[in-house]
């Protein structure tokens, strides 16, 4: 904000500068002369080279009824004080004038901190009226500021890697569950081999054609299986007949023949 006091009349030309709506101006309490206090409310402002820096300007004309023509100069300086942009325009102020000025940031602007300075001059002005605020220029990558891109990109990569690893573990675990032979040591020796053949056959076929193998097995008379895992739960008909029927069904429905492996005898019950 800029407050300017003229010789005879008190004219306050208040210049509010706000970039991206984040700047607030604290009016200075002036006894005489001009006091300027501009800040950006402690929030960082960033703009990419080639983009526009929006600056909200408010001019206040206090103390006289006549119109005042104010010349406004917009400048951008590097941190070292080198100007990289300058433009000016004139605004007529009866009582107040508010507008947003878009200052183009040159495409080749190097990343860093810059200062935007807005100066107002008018006839009969005794002291300079200006306001300034700092902002950051940072290039964009895929629409994100570079630092944000790195942060979000890093987070995305970490999450992706985590998801891929998790997915891999789950798939591996599921596959292990699918291909690990079920243990039927709790089944009597006279029936165990039939359980093992049936179980291994269902598993083998499931690996080849998918869950359809389970559906077919679940519909075999005398065969009761866990429809999720394919584990054989019970045989209520002659086991050899059940195996022969299952093999026939797989051959008929899926067009696949069935090979068996016979598990080695374990010692014990």
């Amino acid at each position: 904000m800029i407050k300017t006091e003229t010789l005879n009349n008190i004219i306050f030309a208040s210049l509010f500068c706000a970039a991206a709506g984040l700047i607030s101006i604290t009016p200075a309490l002036a006894q005489t002369g001009v006091q300027v206090n501009a800040n950006n409310a402690g929030l960082a402002m960033k703009v990419a080279p080639g983009e526009l820096l929006p600056v909200s300007v408010k001019l206040l004309n206090f103390g006289q009824n006549k119109r005042v023509d104010v010349s406004i100069k917009y400048s951008i300086f590097t941190g070292a004080g080198q100007p990289i942009y300058e433009s000016d325009e004139t605004a007529a102020v009866e009582t107040t004038a508010s507008f947003v000025k878009a200052i183009p940031i040159p495409s080749g602007t190097a990343p860093g901190t810059y200062i935007a300075k807005i100066s107002a001059t008018y006839e009969g002005q005794l002291t300079p009226a200006d306001s300034q605020f700092s902002f950051t220029v940072e290039p964009k990558i895929f629409g994100l500021f570079r630092n944000d891109f790195y942060v979000y990109g890093g987070i995305t990569i970490v999450i992706s890697v985590f998801m891929v690893l998790l997915g891999g573990i789950l798939i591996k675990r599921r596959r292990q569950i699918r291909v690990s032979p079920f243990d039927y040591s709790g089944i009597g020796r006279d029936q165990r081999t039939f359980y093992e053949i049936l179980s291994d056959t269902i598993m083998q076929m499931r690996a080849r054609v998918g869950d359809e193998a389970l559906d077919i097995a679940a519909n075999i008379d005398g065969l009761k299986i866990d429809k999720e895992t394919g584990r054989v739960l019970a045989l209520t008909d002659h086991p050899a007949k059940i195996i022969a029927t299952l093999v026939s069904e797989y051959e008929k429905v899926l067009g696949r023949k069935v090979s068996f492996s016979f598990r080695r005898e374990k010692t014990g019950p």
Partner: protein, 127 residues
Amino acid sequence: MEKQKTILIVEDEKNLRDAVVDILQLKKFLPIEAKNGKEGVELALSKHPDLILLDLIMPQMDGMTAFKKIRKDVWGANVPVIILTNLSANSEQLVEDMVTHKPMYYLVKSDWKLHDVVDKINEILKM
């Protein structure tokens, strides 16, 4: 030097028998050939091979009959046998016989390459 493992191939189809013999020789096994079940039983009981590859459908004596005869022998009761056949195990009697006489594998020819069969042989003989 490790003794060559002997493999008895009981197979009536000459082309397949020759192919199996070739690959077994290549893999440093000592193959013995029988062209039907009867010859197979004779050679098995006289030569005591380390493993028998047995077809099921054969002239003179089928593979299952030969298998049963071999299993009746003291030595033959435990010899590892791989059934290599085109016959699908969709008959109750065949399944019953398999479970009773316990081959190591019942392999349907159309689903297996010779190299896979040799892998199975190696797997069994290393046990």
